[in-house]
Each structure stands twice: as structure tokens, then as C-alpha cells.
């Protein structure tokens, strides 16, 4: 795209900067114009597709989130359209306000509205713990996989197996493992109610998630490790750097771009966690994540669910933004360092 942009600029020969390209011949200009048009036509389908697939649902959800859910007409007992809601759907979640007989009260326990901040906390708790564990274990696995030894490709392939299993299947597997009569309790001779009390339920989900997604993390980090040239390590060794120094001074800084992208992906993934808690605990014992809350709300009213998913969307967007802007996760910016200058 940016290569296309250069000739196109020339067409605007009257621009105040007095671009030196303005002295180009007419035929060149026309050619450039045609090229620009062709380029526009060529990218139009994909832009349109993106608009339909990404932009439309987002905007439609935002529009819906300002509509009231249909309520009962007390006279007929039938549903009537809710009309414009203002921001009441948002205040329902964020301030946990429920309306009862026209008055706003704090949502009583047992309503979805009362669970927003708990679900919010749970989601971030799961995200923080699983991503940290997965990064550490994944790094360790990646370092092992990066070494040259017999059967390396076999190991790499087998490490991927947990990740290749659909999450719903994984969840069901762990559900049986953590059942009261399940393998986990039999193996350790314990009688823990894994899915029936708060902290064991959380750890059960964390264990299942780490088991499932660490290979993904390991593979992304492995890709980062493999672009570090062996010579750098050799030079460091010659200079007398210890193994720890080589790790912190060479491996970590050089693998950082890949690592940040891996962490970004996992974080965004973990923030929308649904299958594991939904199947393993059904969201009981404070394991309800924001996504579970959205799905539960969909069955009770689309518009309020739209508000909740918009909130979730904004939260995830902010997290991604912080990652990209401040922590330097280079997943979306152009890899060409000169790219920014050219745009000016």
C-alpha cells in the first residue's frame, strides 16, 4: 500500500509543500492515477469483507446496547418492545443497578447484574495467573525444544498434542479427572471437591488451561529463540559470560519481540475464556468469567447482553492497546522502522 501512495501524492501537484515530483510528465500522472484506482479496486473486496465481518457486528452491538430489552405488558402478559434505553444497560452492569417496579435498586444476589465485578475480577485473575504460568513453563519447554538432540521433532510434535485437542474436549476430560470419584482424587488419596468449592475449582481451571495452552506459548517462543544466531552465544562464551548471564543478557532481550507477541496473544485469549469454566464448573463457585456472563445474559435479553459484550470488547481493546503502546508488543505495527517517516 505505501508504495502505491508515493505516486498518488504526485497527482496533487498543487499541494503547498511544492513537492519536487510535481514536475512529472502528464502521462506518468495518469498512469499513477490508474494504478491507484486499480489498487483501490483490488483492496476493496477485502476491506468490504472486513467491514461486514468485523465492523458491522461491533457497530450493531453498540446500537443494540442502547435499546431496552423487551418487557412484559402487564395487561396482556405478552412481550412488548423495550424502546430506547439510554445508558441504563451500561449502568446495569457497571453500577450493578437493577430496576424493580420502576425503581433502581442494587442488583440482588442471584441476578446476572450482581456478578459483573466478580466476573471481571475472576477473568483478570485467571488471565494473570495462567499467562504467567504459561510464559514460564512455555519458556522452559521452548529452551529444551531448541536444543539439538535425537527425537527433537518427535518431541516438538508431541508437545503440540494438548493444544490440538478442542478446548471443549479438554474441558470434559478435566471435568472427569476432577470429579469427586475422579483420577485426581484417587491418585493423591484426597477427597477434595474440585468442582464444588471456590479455590479448588479455580485451580482446576487454571491447571487445565495451563496444560492446554502452554504448548502454544512454547512454540511461539521457540520461533523467537531460533532467530538468535549461534555466533552471539559463542562470542559471549569466549568473553566468559556465565550461562545465567547469557540467558539474561542475550536470550531475553533478543527473544523479547516474539515473547511479547506470544504474551499478547495469550492475554487476549485468556480474557475471553469461556469453555473451560463453563464445562468444568458451569461458572459456580466464583468461576464465572465475563464471556460466561455474556452467554448467560443472551438467554435473558439480547440488548443487555450487547451492552455487556461492548464493555468486554472495550476492556480487551484497552488491554491490547496498553500492550502494544507501552509494553512494545510489536504485533500490529509495521516491521519497517522507516514506515512511519514515509507517512508524514
Amino acid at each position: 500500500m505505501s508504495t502505491e501512495a508515493q505516486p498518488r501524492q504526485a497527482v496533487k501537484s498543487g499541494n503547498p509543500k511544492g513537492n519536487k515530483d510535481a514536475n512529472k510528465e502528464v502521462g506518468q500522472d495518469r498512469k499513477a492515477t490508474t494504478q491507484g484506482r486499480v489498487a483501490t479496486l483490488l483492496v476493496a473486496p477485502s476491506l468490504l469483507l472486513l467491514a461486514i465481518v468485523i465492523l458491522y457486528p461491533v457497530i450493531n452491538a453498540i446500537i443494540m446496547s442502547f435499546q431496552k430489552d423487551s418487557g412484559l405488558d402487564p395487561a396482556t402478559g405478552l412481550f412488548v418492545a423495550g424502546g430506547f434505553a439510554g445508558v441504563s444497560n451500561y449502568s446495569h452492569w457497571i453500577l450493578q443497578q437493577c430496576s424493580v417496579a420502576g425503581a433502581s435498586i442494587s442488583c440482588p444476589p442471584g441476578t446476572l447484574g450482581s456478578q459483573f465485578w466478580t466476573a471481571f475480577g475472576t477473568t483478570f485473575f485467571f488471565t494473570a495467573v495462567t499467562v504467567v504460568l504459561e510464559t514460564i513453563i512455555g519458556f522452559w519447554m521452548a529452551i529444551i525444544m531448541a536444543r539439538a538432540f535425537r527425537g527433537r521433532s518427535l518431541l516438538r510434535a508431541s508437545v503440540l498434542v494438548p493444544w490440538a485437542i478442542p478446548t471443549a474436549v479438554t474441558a470434559k476430560l478435566w471435568f472427569f479427572i476432577f470429579a469427586f470419584q475422579g483420577i485426581a482424587n484417587q491418585l493423591f488419596g484426597t477427597s477434595i471437591l474440585w468442582t464444588g468449592s471456590e479455590w479448588p475449582a479455580r485451580w482446576a481451571i487454571i491447571i487445565a488451561d495451563v496444560w492446554k495452552t502452554t504448548p502454544f506459548m512454547a512454540l511461539l517462543i521457540l520461533a523467537g529463540l531460533q532467530i538468535i544466531p549461534e555466533q552471539v552465544y559463542e562470542a559471549a562464551r569466549v568473553d566468559g559470560a556465565s550461562a545465567w548471564q547469557r540467558f539474561t543478557q542475550i536470550t531475553l532481550p533478543l527473544v523479547k519481540p516474539a515473547l511479547m507477541v506470544a504474551i499478547l496473544f495469550r492475554t487476549l485469549d485468556a480474557l475471553r475464556m469461556y469453555d473451560l469454566p463453563a464445562i468444568m464448573t458451569g461458572g459456580s463457585n466464583n468461576t464465572t468469567t465475563l464471556s460466561i456472563l455474556v452467554v448467560d445474559q443472551i438467554r435473558q435479553g439480547f440488548n443487555s447482553a450487547a451492552a455487556l459484550s461492548t464493555i468486554t470488547f472495550i476492556v480487551i481493546f484497552l488491554v491490547a492497546f496498553i500492550f502494544v503502546r507501552f509494553l512494545g508488543a510489536n504485533a500490529v505495527e509495521s516491521t519497517n522502522p522507516g514506515g512511519k517517516e514515509k507517512e508524514k
Binding site: K12, L48, Y56, D73, V100, I105, T111, G196, S284
Partner: protein, 431 residues
Amino acid sequence: MRKTKRLTPIAVLGVLALSLAACGGGGSGGSSGAAAGGDAGNNLDGRGPITYVQGKDNSNVVRPLVDKWNAAHPDQKVTFKEQSDQADQQHDDLVKNFQAKNVNYDVVDVDVVWTAEFAAKSWLQPLKDKMSIDTSKMLPATVKTATYNGTLYAAPQTSDGGILYYRKDLVPTPPKTWDEMMSMCSIAKAKNMGCYAGQFAKYEGLTVNAAEAINTAGGTIVGPDGKPTVNTDQAKAGLNNLVKAYKDGNIPKEAITFQEEQGRQAFEAGKLLFLRNWPYVYNLAKTDGSSKVKSTFGIAPLPGMTADKPGASSLGGHNLAVSVYSKNKATAKDFLTFMTSEETEKFYATQGSLAPVLTALYDDAALVKQLPYLPVLKTALQNAVPRPVTPFYPAVTKAIQDNAYAAMQGQKPVDQALSDMQSAIQAAGSQ
């Protein structure tokens, strides 16, 4: 700046596409019942081919019936559309097609707890006047599940109720009351087994069990007007039975993770003295290779508060309804009558072990011989109370589950749980 200009045509195109799409989306997303009022009066005499929609036909009972109907009605053929076997997916599929006013969803099979919601959305044809059907031979509780606001919206098709499984080798006569059952728990303790279990994990099963406890004690969850009525002494006594039994250990602590299957497995393994479950367990416990209780278990109605009145079972099962958007409602009504006829119901019972809704069939000697649990189930269903009939069922069941679960775990006292349940149901109804 330049970049913006270059993208303008695309942006315009995009916005255009969006606004178009938004119009389409808004129409279906915001649809509600009121607009459909006229559909209920249309096509009442329409005859012709129709479609019957139901979840996965696991025991292959629907196809033979549809074939039989089609042979007799060559010009009003029924096409069977099979949905997935997941209840949530069936529900969402129906919602989608009703919102789209799909004329090809003529007769639909709805779970008893969805009936009120669909009726309130004006998606179901009221079964009155020309469309009325005979419900006098059906079990009254099943008819209640299909009735919303005093109008019948569906025909009860199959039913289900909870019964008490007990170990007749350890307890010669089954307990008639809850207290009697609790007093027998010392037998279980001596044998080092759990005493009583039902479905207490936090899911629909807990609603069923909590509702049974509350209804048995004479409480109610919602009144006839749909308003919550659960914050009463009777309801408290009912829920307290479960809470206290769990605290005492009469309900083993692992039962808080039990759904139907875990309870059945524990009972079959000889780890439970009493189990509340559905009739499907009967055949499995008799024939499962791993069952240790094949010849040592019996069944009885759920225990009540007093010896003369058995416990109030919750109701499972499905109802048949006609879509208001159907073009051939006369055919649809005939098909409804055919599907709830004695002959069909018998076929359902023998072929699919689905409990009939016709009272007479429970005394049919041939049927009882094949399904020995029928007499007990009849008592259960005669004393049954449907789960709350409300258009806000998903929110109501959540209010019951969350608060009953917290009470059983001892996170809040029963009083608090019931008053929270009351307010949560109230909040659900006035969204």
C-alpha cells in the same frame, strides 16, 4: 490527509453496506411479540405439508410416527426436522427461527420450561376455539406447564418426574416423610455409605431439587401472576431440609457436585441409601454391568412432609406447539392430536421409555409390565408441581440456583437466601 481521500470511496461503500446490514439486523434483533398479534388469527384452516421440529430423536420414535402419519395423509405430509441433542442449542434454534418468522417451523417441540417464554413472545398459537384440543385425559400438572396466563399454548407430549430410589435390602419399607428418611440415615452411617442425594451441582438440576423441597413443604416460588412468592415460612422449611441435611452429612459432601449421572453412578456402586432421580435410572440400575444394586433397590414416591401426602415432584418433559407463522394450522392441529393420542403415547413409552401424559396409560397392565416404575411415577406426577411457569425462566432458574447453592454451602443463612431469591426473581420480571 491524502490517505483519507484515497479511501473515501471505500469508506462510503463500507458505511453504505453497514447501514444496509444494520437495517436488516435491527429488524430481527429488536422484534418482539406485540407486532405478531395478527399472526395468531391467520391460516387457521390452512391444510398442506408441514414441518415438525424436534431435538435429536435418540430412541428413533419420531420417524416411525411421521411415516405412519404420512401414509394416512398423502396430501398433508409431515417433514421431520431434527435439531441437535443439546437443549440450549434447540432453544436458540427455535428463537432464531421464530424471530425470522420462519413459516417452515410449523409444529415445534418445546421443553416445558420454555413454553411460557415463547407464548409471551406471541410465537405460539393459542390452542383455543378452532385450534382447541382435548386435555381432559391428561395429567393436570402437565397441562399446567403448557398454560400461560390462563390460555393453553401447547399440547403436553411427554412427561417426567422425580422418584425415590432406595435400598430395599437395608430399608424394608421406604420412608413416607422427609423426617422419616433422615432418621434412617443412621443405617447408612453404620454401613459407611452416603444417605441421600439428588442433583445439587449448580445447574438446572438444582432448580428441580430446590423447587421440589420448597413445593413439598407447601411453599411456592412464583404465584399465578408470575410474581415471586418464595419468601415464606413454608419455603424456608423446605429449603432448610436440604441445607440441614447437607450440614449434618446426611447428604454426603460430594453431592454438591452431583448431576444426574454422578448420583446414579454412586447409587449403583452401593454408596448411597437414597437417591432422588428420574425414571431413566430404573432400567440402567437393573441392567448395568457395574451396578451392584441390581436386585436390591426399590422405588417409591418422593417423601412428603406428612405421611398421607407424597413429595411434590418437579416436572420434566416436552410440549408440542404450533407456530403462529405456520401456513397450515389445521393440519398442524390434527398432527398435534395424532402425536398426543393414546396409541402414539403408548408407542413413546414402549419404544422410547418416555413417560406418557395420559393418566389412563399408567394403569395399562401391559405397559406397567414393561415399565414397572409407572405406578410410582403416576403418584409422583399426580402430586407434581411444574417449575415456575414464567417468561423469564432463564433468570428465575438462575435466581433459584445461585441462592439455593449458596445456602447449601453455608455461605448464607436460609432466610437470606430466600429473600435474595425473592428480590432476584422480582428483578428478573421487571427488566
